[in-house]
Symmetry: C2
Subunit: 290 residues, 2 copies
């Protein structure tokens, strides 16, 4: 199975076997014209073997299942027919395209932190905040393929303006650039999430508070959705989720404070474990476990 993960900063492709193992993997920075680079990566990991299907994850928005993509993080693609292009390159096999955050959750569900759990919310806290849902053991896409948009739960009424036009969305509070900007307003010199996490790790109180605000918001959202969907597991990945205790302690505290209903006893939020591979494993899962 060929898998493709299209991101604004890098492209990745992999050959994934029927058990979800990544046999070969290739990555390249996203060039100005991404499509030839996608094909080249796919051919590189394919290495001449026969192709039995292609799954691809890509930033949204997109039409689904048609896979016509206009990724916010890749302005050069407007209404790009990713699925049709892949189907043209690999005729006669199943080709599926879905949101990259959805693929991450599918990957974690198949071989990562959510293995064997039938009902799970996955969140990607990174440049944006995305997510996906596995319900009853299957990907829940929703009628237009947009289910899983956890980033637009309102977590701070009257809070910061969101890219969607609303206020106080989880994405507006917890996406990396928002956390860094909030800390910068108070004089924090961190230029990105990694620097902010490093400062927080060294005890900088502004960095600690900024990550705590984001972590708490993620914890409240996770508890809210666990109650709504009868979940016992939420998996959180993405760059910000690698910020350590400054992010995770307030997250877990908020989750415990809010996930109080009896049926939520034992419910947990855990870190994603597959890292950058999750999107590729999940893209393969679109076809193999769709």
């Amino acid at each position: 199975m060929l898998a493709l993960d299209v991101g604004g900063t890098k492209l990745a492709a992999a050959l994934v076997d029927a058990t979800g193992d990544v046999l070969r993997r290739a990555v390249t920075p996203t060039p100005a014209d991404p499509w030839p680079a996608c094909l080249q990566l796919l051919e590189q990991v394919r290495a001449g073997e026969p192709v039995d299907g292609v799954g691809a994850g890509c930033g949204g928005p997109m039409t689904w299942p048609a896979g016509v993509v206009s990724p916010l993080n890749m302005p050069v693609w407007k209404q790009f027919p990713l699925r049709d292009r892949l189907a043209g390159a690999y005729p006669g096999v199943d080709v599926r395209v879905h949101n990259d955050a959805v693929c991450m959750v599918l990957g974690e569900h198949w071989t990562g932190a959510a293995q064997g759990v039938d009902d799970v919310l996955g969140m990607v806290v990174s440049t944006g905040v995305g997510g996906g849902l596995v319900l009853g053991g299957r990907l829940h896409s929703g009628p237009s393929g947009n289910a899983g948009h956890i980033g637009h739960l309102v977590v701070e009424p009257g809070g910061p303006l969101c890219g969607c036009g609303g206020r106080g969305c989880l994405e507006a509070v917890a996406r990396g650039p928002a956390i860094v900007a909030a800390a910068a307003e108070l004089g924090c010199p961190a230029r990105d999430g990694r620097e902010l996490a490093a400062l927080a790790g060294a005890g900088d109180p502004i960095a600690v508070a900024a990550l705590a605000r984001a972590g708490s918001a993620v914890g409240r959202a996770a508890a809210s959705v666990a109650a709504l969907l009868d979940l016992r597991l939420v998996v959180v990945g993405g760059g910000i989720a690698e910020s350590g205790k400054a992010f995770w302690d307030p997250l877990e505290q908020a989750f415990r404070d809010h996930a109080r209903l009896e049926f939520l006893s034992g419910a947990v939020v855990v870190p994603a474990v597959l890292g950058a591979q999750a999107g590729l494993v999940g893209a393969a899962a679109l076809v193999l476990r769709g």
Copy 2:
């Protein structure tokens, strides 16, 4: 199809036909010993005809699908085996028991405000705040039957204490007694939701503000879940939803302010239309459309 709706203040039973029409209906105040009264009501609407199934809605918590109920609003029933009792009384037919708010949504989905809509959140804003989800045209119960618990979305971080032990849950903000209590603290004389709605209708500013706070919270929750689950329709019923413009205008404003993603264009929140019948029609749907 026999349908039963077990509430803390009244019991209702109905004979429902295969199209969701209520052919006969009977209601009685909930007595100290509810079970004999339930049976009597069922026999009354049955009127000697053969029984092809029994569906029942009841307040939670309960085990599901076993239907062993311990309704918060009916302390006399602790671990009452409602489903087994009904199965004993009507042997050889399908007997199903579910949360009363879930039944309301199923009723509205079958013959009410959500007819023909495959993905819908239903909310009951009353003494508590409950709900249910139809996803992909089918009731979504979740692994333990608890999916739909919209009342525990966190809508006011650090807000009022909830019965669940958390803070700022939708139920803590928008349930009738909470709205009335918040208004009473400011000197409002209303003793219940109906009186509060009447005062708000007459322009009382405290009553108007109290219902606005609840309506806004419901609107934020509805927008949050619409984004998460890719919904275009939310149906809101229950006594508080009958409070008129003072509740609905802020609700709709909050929904418009927050449901901004492109795929939510055209999404609406509408009032339930079946009133007290929804629970009975939905209880029948548990069996007929389960």
